[in-house]
Point group: D2
Chain length 414, copies 4
């Protein structure tokens, strides 16, 4: 009887394999052993022991481990040059193979071999989280991170990510992580969580990786509405007021990255488009896909530029100026959220005052929020115009607001 | 307990995302576009178009594509040297990053970017299958394969593989692949398949990769028996004669690699140990884990060495000599199956005459088969003795047979 | 959204509970024991032993078992009368309870108590299959069946049935049952099955009961087409010629009941409407839902009425006459397939000659087939008109054919 | 791609079928229509409309509905007598069929026909919950309940129940019901729930019915311990102190029925044995299966019998007397929890003072708790001894405590 679904129950059931006893050798010896020829047979045991030892290490020991990776498992430039010379003369298979071997650091192979058995990937993500923290102080360790990142980009390739709806029927152990990882508008309690998942006009989606099935990588919260909302308070507080199938707009009001150990490996741009696609399939009447986003750098920018933020009338023009003209490097918008959505192909659609009256909202953006509009037909051209010419896509009203800012400035000066 | 079940239903639900229309540009242009800056936004569409165009190409076009990868997307040795010099002088993060960028071929990044969207990984595995076939003739293309293999080793890392039982309740589309991929003892029909899956004393396990959920990568067929069987005919033909819980022996009688495009990326050694572990957990009374294996190189070796295989008495001593003393390179056993199991930590346990009387069995091994024994306590030491000293582990009777061969030879000479 | 997925994995995991040893008492004693007070604790063991003993019984023993149910576990009319008198005087809870107890046969409670543990429901369905076979000869046993049927109607209540798509990814053990149960157009082989499941323009759906998860109860095969097909040969033989989303018509070309032990418990009328609903949701462009049905009683009826079936011209008018005017009891159409679909609210849509040229098709209907049309808007009124007034719904062409038959008859007479 | 698991995702996906528009007829008319001949075709719509109308009814309307069932859909005794006479004379199939038809109330058939479509079973369970509440005042309505109960006993037959582990990975919508339904030791918060589910030494199991997949019917909470615990405080408060595989005892410390509408349909006795079986399979080292139970009737009994509960020394003897000798009807133990476990085959194992110092625990049992021991070898004989001879199984210490009570009483009298 019970075997009909055995397929399902075992699909991710990568049970712990039987391991040899811990050898209690120093972690450095273990690393050399794992990189040695014996790897084939006892590799899983050694890899697991290294991860176990690491997990129990204190910060100094961890730092020493990364220092070891940096110093002892680096490339040998001479060997690379030697291999390269041969390849330059004869670009053969054998010479390219020798070059590949010489130009890859042993630590990269080490990380690859550590990724065995149940749970190893998650533990390596945690290891990189530590590394990134240490590298803030010991900058040279960031070199080691390049090898982690190189592998993680391969492992967390878009093709391997899985989109899952998060709902009130999701497992509690996943949901408690949603509560904990929400980075934009904090979730206070399980009741608060339910109010964001259970109503018919709410949705949530997350990316997962098959090897870390219990950890969301990034998630987005969505509200279905009639018309574009102009404040986060209304969106979060108001009880469910529209049936999903009657909505015309999907509002992405919170996007949170979950894993510090995956910093710099981007999922977000893909996620939004994927969710747009899912929602369109489920609810064909949706016409507008829009964010309700914070403007985290606004107040600081205004301060730096001596723009007073005490005149309510002047706020929206000032914000339009900030979003359209404040740049960091090259064409890149200064505001990090703007940068993300605009490079992603969205356009600035509307600005709202008194839209986030929380302490955080008042502090960072004088209470303003902005809608970025994802218009499928314009995504590619918006992105290209920004990438090539530095042109930021914006609606007519936003452009007018920016012009008004110019006039105000001129008047003030005058 | 019941951990991840709900995940399963959505885990592979990576629906096709909406794509832009095909641009109908040449594949080479598309590759450059995918590697360009626009990748972020329209990458998925371009990647999919490249894979579509490739799939419709004829052999000449495919060869031209690989030639393009070889010629135009190679490293620039001068750039590598330049970066390397800087790194040698100052091993900083920036210099290492520049070196990494210079020393990785653009084709590697191309392959990585092709791996997006639903089904891309499977299509890249097929692409490498083509490449390997072409490289047999155009040997220089094997250089391009080094980049494929480098990525595939990462993607098909042990930590990402999933072991699934294959049973008569498995989906038919999976089972028809088992029929098609069986490489050792052909499965004639669905009835034949059922007789290998349904009886209580039969088991089958396969490794899958989450991104290719409908394709087994490698599978092993197992018979549960009382005592070690001495012929494949009996094992396959005899009706179910023992209840699973009454068995003391698990016989691995067929191991098949499924994907030509994954050649050289080893799963087999891990698979057997994993299955030993699974079976031990399910059936604690199992004591012996053993193969019933062909000796594919025997007849050819005998011929090459002018050993006549017409004396039934002499066959087993001769086979013992072959398995213990015929070497390819260094210590490596000449017989490919022996090489696999012995490096894997198994030992030669017993030889059987008239054990495979099929045409193939008679031709390649004069009807003989061999049991390799997986004894958990000796796996590491067997492997190490072979790797370090070239010592092949074998049972007393096998060693005696080999000695008998020596005597026979001496007598014959005399 | 993704509601109940985790449930699935455990939903059928009703493992065998530990049972006491078989008592080896006669089945009659076991039945009395199961009906006795001890039932609470050891009921599961006794019930399982009864089902085991029954399964091993020969036909005579089985007949004796049913005879025992008939003779010894009947109601006692005197007790019913006694309880009824009390109830008539005072329709109280206690008196009604006593009446209920008296008016239900002990064999009904026995069957209910037999339905414990894993697999019991399926075994009781098999038991009824035997009973129905015996009752054909020993008509009085059909009385016992009334109790089985009474319970089965409750257990297989519509609310408990589960619709599942059957596809080429369904488990092989389910699919081999589809092959075996197909009752209309035999499935010759696994290849034949694949050709009915895998193409994009084919669908199959079955009802299951949660307590018998590996046994379909009834299934329907569907072809998606452009226009209404006029022969089964074309439908089955022609390769996939239309993409599912381009089809405008869904053709139900085969409906098979699977369980002889569930005879008389109707699922079919519900199934078709349920599948219409599912297909409409998946493929909104479908406009027409129609069967391609045999006319199994035609030739026999023609013979009985001395209508010669050798004039091709006359066949379709004659068939129209048969379908519209040949009645069994009251208004009920004589043809069993017509009766099923017409009472189900369908209407006769079109007749096709040379539509089933198989031996069976030629024999039973001179090669003709008929389309019954399910028009959601007319189902209720068609049914009602038939149920109340005996009016059979038919298209204009069918009615004209029937009139033509009248003319032909008159001419022939003249 | 995504079709591999379509089986799974649809297994319980009984979507709402398309319904006709509500007719807005009075509920009584709808009931007659549902019982009429048209049922076949439009039954689902009518049934759904009845359940919708009922759900929106106020208490008076609901009472009127049940009154209608009682008065108008009762049996006709005359018809039963008539059918019975015929059957008495000739016990034929036809006569038995007529008798069955006459002796079953139309309301029973009505309830059966209401059970169609998605969610109907759950709504009928709610309907019976209302009915039971009304019947407390209007006693004659309990007659109607006999028909509900008759059907529910069939529908919730043991063979249809599904045991599912409840864990911290269960869906949140199920878990919030566990919080809400816990009837013995209240769960204060999600954190409290996690502390009962997540630790390695905690388990929880629930019975579900496939047609009500989101509602547990009954659940039991289990702690794994070394030795038998003597207080609920320690069990609930103490952090996880033993690894599951090191435990020798499983303690059932809370059993809660969830559905008021299923009152009187027993699951509990089956549940405990089923869970014992599951735990034994998972953890073969478990030796002892025991409850830690309240003694809810103790204080009241002591009061009624003028036993003062202020002498700590006397409490345990007094409780032993209560559990062994206080009877309700016949042999039945007076204490409801004792009655449940003792009839279930358990025996009184040990008494603990200060074992439940909550307000509720002090009030109902002066802080005492009791262990009932489930010893697989003695369950049948314990049950039988109680059922036949009224003998209550108890350990030697408990019997000694009861004797001590006798001595104390004698002394007090003296």
């Amino acid at each position: 009887m019970a075997r009909l679904y055995d397929l399902v129950s075992t699909i991710f059931d990568r049970q712990y394999l039987p391991l040899m006893r811990p050898s209690n050798r120093p972690i450095v010896d273990l690393c050399h052993a794992l990189l040695g020829n014996q790897g084939e047979v006892s590799g899983l045991s050694i890899a697991t022991e290294i991860l176990d030892v690491y997990a129990k290490s204190n910060d100094d020991e961890k730092r020493a481990f990364f220092q070891f990776l940096n110093d002892n498992l680096d490339i040998s430039p001479d060997e690379v040059v030697f291999a390269l010379d041969a390849y330059k003369q004869e670009p053969t298979h054998a010479n390219y193979k020798a070059f590949l071997a010489a130009s890859e650091t042993p630590r990269q192979e080490l990380i690859r071999r550590l990724n065995q058995g149940s749970g190893a990937t998650a533990r390596l993500v945690e290891m990189r989280r530590d590394l990134l923290a240490f590298a803030k102080e010991d900058r040279h360790l960031s070199k080691v991170d390049l090898d982690f990142k190189h592998l993680f980009v391969s492992w967390f390739n878009r093709g391997f990510l899985v989109l899952r709806p998060i709902s009130w029927t999701s497992p509690a152990n996943i949901l408690e992580k949603i509560i904990s990882y929400e980075a934009v508008h904090a979730i206070d309690s399980w009741d608060d969580l339910r109010s964001r998942l259970l109503p018919d006009d709410r949705r949530c989606f997350a990316y997962f990786h098959p090897a870390i099935p219990e950890e969301p990588l990034i998630f987005v919260e969505v509200a279905l509405t009639k018309g574009i909302p102009d404040s986060i308070q209304n969106l979060l507080v108001t009880p469910n007021s529209v049936a999903a199938h009657a909505a015309d707009t999907a509002v992405f009001y919170s996007i949170s990255n979950c894993q510090a150990g995956l910093a710099g490996i981007s999922f977000g741009n893909f996620l939004i488009k994927h969710v747009v696609h899912e929602l369109s399939a489920e609810l064909p009447d949706l016409e507008t896909f829009v964010t309700l986003s914070p403007i985290p750098g606004f107040t600081k920018w205004a301060e730096n530029n001596d723009h007073a933020v005490d005149d309510p009338e002047a706020l929206k023009p000032m914000a339009a100026e900030y979003l359209l003209n404040a740049k960091s490097r090259g064409h890149a918008p200064l505001d990090p959220v703007a940068k993300f959505h605009l490079y992603n192909g969205a356009q600035i659609h509307a600005l709202h005052a008194d839209a986030d009256t929380s302490e955080k909202g008042m502090n960072q953006s004088a209470g303003m929020m902005v809608n970025y509009l994802y218009d499928a037909k314009k995504i590619a051209q918006n992105h290209e115009a920004l990438a090539k010419e530095g042109t930021i896509a914006a609606s007519r009203p936003i452009k007018n607001l920016q012009k008004a800012f110019g006039r105000i400035q001129t008047e003030n000066v005058a």
